[in-house]
Amino acid sequence: MHTDALLLLAAFMAVVTVLAWPLGRVLAAVGDGKPVPGLGWLAPLERLCYRVAGIDPAQGMGWKSYTLALMLFSGLGALLVYAVQRLQGFLPFNPQQLGAVAPDSAFNTALSFVTNTNWQGYSGEQTMSYFSQMVALAGQNFLSAATGIAVVFALVRALAARSSRSVGNFWADLVRSTVYVLLPLSVVLAVFLAGQGVIQNFAPYQQAALLDPVTYSQPKLGPDGQPLKDAAGNPVTEALTATTQTIAMGPVASQEAIKMLGTNGGGFFNANSAHPYENPTALANFVQMVAIFLIPAALCFAFGRMVGDARQGWAVFAAMAILFVAMTVVALWAEGQAHPGLQALGVDQAASSLQAGGNMEGKETRFGIAASGLFAAVTTAASCGAVNAMHDSLMPLGGLVPLALMQFGEVVFGGVGSGLYGMLVFALLGVFIAGLMIGRTPEYLGKKIQAFDMKMVSLAILVTPTLVLAGTALAVSSEAGIAGIANPGAHGFSEILYALTSAANNNGSAFAGLSANTPFYNVLLGMAIWLGRFAMIVPVLALAGSLAAKPRLATTSGTMPTHGPLFVTLLIGAVLLVGVLNYVPALALGPVAEHLQLFSVK
């Protein structure tokens, strides 16, 4: 591994920490319903939202009312996103006159954006009008992120509460998170990105004449739209010559900002952050990575403030940071290796003034190994899903890192809100295991952890592995599932495993290589996306209801401290233990088997 990769990682973590600390103060004020420092001028907008929607923000909700409000909001949101896609041909801001999105794709996309997953089976510039991008997709980028923040506020307030029946007001959390956090940060980031060269316009797509016509071959399609094959079963190809290139336009910068800050990840263009109009410079790339981690990291510090002990926030942050750095180092090391298949052909893969060295397949030369490897780790540790390199082309162990980071449950910083509430669930599991070992009733922040709480913890932890493993098993055992694989063998298995992992953990990044825009995958992944989000949120909110109702016991000499290195180790151990127990067999069939096959090349 090169020194520049480690320096980039160190600089990244330093900038994230420095920026997240003050933002944590803002988030704590937002979650506690207090005036937000420096942003009081936005209070009239907050009040206007309440007045228009007829909301009393002071009215507390029990966990069931909170959940029902959240589900009502999300269900209606999904129907709205579906309707906009299906009706986009009749709606404005559609200079390319794109028609209705196919029903199965619209269903998948609606569930995907409402759940903060932003899995994209479609190609943005060929499918979505500007109206669909701005109103349906970017709108949900804000609202789904705010929903995640609302849930973690409910859980943190429950931990801080003393015998309360309320976990807060969902509508107030939604409005305050959007008005005071997501909107201001997005405006600042969008202006910065536009300054770097990210486009922002409503122009029709441009036609550019190529200086040199390009001749290429592509599979010939039959009347049924499927590739034709000759008598030997090989695909029939046809030679084509391109003399012009269509350059897609659109309001990208405004969508790009919230795509990163909200850990959404759904790209305006199909190439996502590998596209020069989404991510034009090395500086834009660095800032986009920081934007992905900013709110999840800041929520750790907000958690510490809200429970009245900043050290608690630092402990959770430390556990996330240690896991992230360790996994990222593996990814950077793996991608810095020369590909043995190319090595056998005598291809020069050594670092030099002309190339970054290592595995450059599927990577932007603008970013190289370090910025691509780090981006892959950041986007999968946080449940963002934006990509600046094609994960299908990562080395087997380089691809294992994004898979594992998602399979840990998206708790290594994770999604906005969802990362912290997932990690707090693991914290409860950790103190429960520790309590069993030392023979004491487990406590976390003065709250006794009892049978009902552990049932909810177990449910929250087991939902996503069940969806991932059962979904993968269904896909690899069905013809429709296997038909989508581009590469047979272990890599093909990884493509399916990655898709289900990304969907159920609400990440949304694609390994690529899997043809997932089919009715089978759109429906299967759509269901995994929905259940992976909300079947986890329900036990988390039930947990919040249970914890809020309990008194907060005073710390005694017998209380296990949850702010020191021992607890951090315990927390990391709980995450690793659950991840390893659930996924090692599947990983062995995919990236591990592929690694062994690849490095047996003589």
């Binding site: 589900m71 129907l79 009902f452 947990l543």
Partner: protein, 34 residues
């Protein structure tokens, strides 16, 4: 045909939303969190 597809997917969205509400009800029935 597309209208039929639309109805199926709208029903599926409502059904999935209802499923989550049923899960919340089941969690509540487990007790302790009301």
């Amino acid at each position: 045909m597309d209208i039929l597809n639309d109805l199926v997917f709208i029903a599926a969205t409502l059904g999935l939303t209802g499923l989550i509400c049923a899960l919340a009800h089941a969690c509540d029935k487990l007790g302790g969190a009301s």
